[in-house]
Symmetry: C2
Subunit: 204 residues, 2 copies
């Protein structure tokens, strides 16, 4: 019978607690401001406690990235399912979900797509990132089912690059410095529709 609360089992869920405090810390201080000790401090444990659950600080960051990719995939799917307008509508919706996740978790998003995180290359990280790419590829190919494999690949490249590039530049302040959030959303949607039209035109 596990003790319900109070001091729940040594700590009990330290791995989860560290992932949670780590994620918050990441968004708060950015990648360069992220420290393992502060992460442990927020979880209420000593500075060496994380070592048992994560081999190194990079290992923790990799775990955060894995969870980020999983959440990104879920956000894309959810938004695509909500969309109307057939395959093209789903493609645009998936892009909306992608951008919304990035806008809501900018530091995590940056970590996920930084070569530092990629340098870890744990199997879990590779798999999680692959799942997102498969989702993107499927959405594009559903729009142009009769195109050749090569054309499909080029359109997958194109769609993924447009969406990723726009939101990345936006989050870095390279796009729409003083524009309102509303105006920026309009620019994002406009980009998504131009992207979708190009996929349809070139692929169809």
């Amino acid at each position: 019978m596990a003790r319900p609360k109070a001091q729940p089992y040594h700590h009990g869920q330290l791995r989860e607690a560290l992932a949670a405090s780590g994620r918050a810390l990441l968004e708060e201080k950015g990648i360069r401001g992220f420290t393992l000790r502060e992460c442990a401090r927020r979880a209420g444990v000593s500075h060496a406690a994380p070592a048992y659950h994560f081999a190194s600080i990079d290992d923790l960051l990799a775990e955060l990235a894995v969870r980020g990719f999983q959440e990104l995939a879920a956000a894309m799917t959810a938004e695509a399912d909500r969309a109307e307008g057939g395959a093209t509508g789903r493609l645009v919706g998936q892009g909306v979900g992608y951008m919304a996740f990035a806008a809501g978790n900018p530091a995590l998003f940056q970590l996920m797509f930084s070569r530092d995180a990629n340098r870890l290359e744990t199997p879990a990280l590779t798999a999680a990132a692959d799942a997102v790419r498969k989702l993107q590829a499927a959405a594009v190919e559903a729009v142009i089912p009769h195109a050749s494999g090569e054309v499909k690949q080029r359109m997958v490249d194109f769609a993924g690059a447009s969406v990723h590039g726009f939101i990345s530049l936006l989050l870095d302040g390279q796009i729409g410095g003083k524009d309102s959030s509303r105006a920026l959303k309009a620019r994002g949607l406009s980009l998504l529709s131009a992207m979708a039209e190009t996929v349809v035109r070139v692929g169809g």
Copy 2:
């Protein structure tokens, strides 16, 4: 009369030397592996010497980013000038220059477009990044001179996002994992032509 070599004036060009060793170190170890002390070590000075030339490590990184943007602008212009095919050819050429710079300086490129560097927001950094954006905008607008201001802006967004997104994903290993360099260049050029066609079609 300045002493020619040997121990040239205290150090003489420490700021330049630090920028050079810093840039090399950045590409070698990545942003997270970058340390001020190693940077000083490679320049042959004590670990506190950089303090006089750069207020902090972030200040040094900002300087590297500024120089990166200047070099990026030069690479874009050079490639555009070399291109044939009028305004559309220049637009594609500029994209080639952009991608070539990023591929040749991946860590620096990542630094330039990381919100960490942007958090510095020195006037020089803002100006250098602005210059690159102006170059991009001019190249797009030259292709669609009769379009409305709004359409022009959307196409500038679109062109910049496509190019930036593709090379970013490529450098992060999210595109073309095991493809040959030759095949990747073909995919990049294919993306650039799809981008240019869309600009012409939507804007014209």
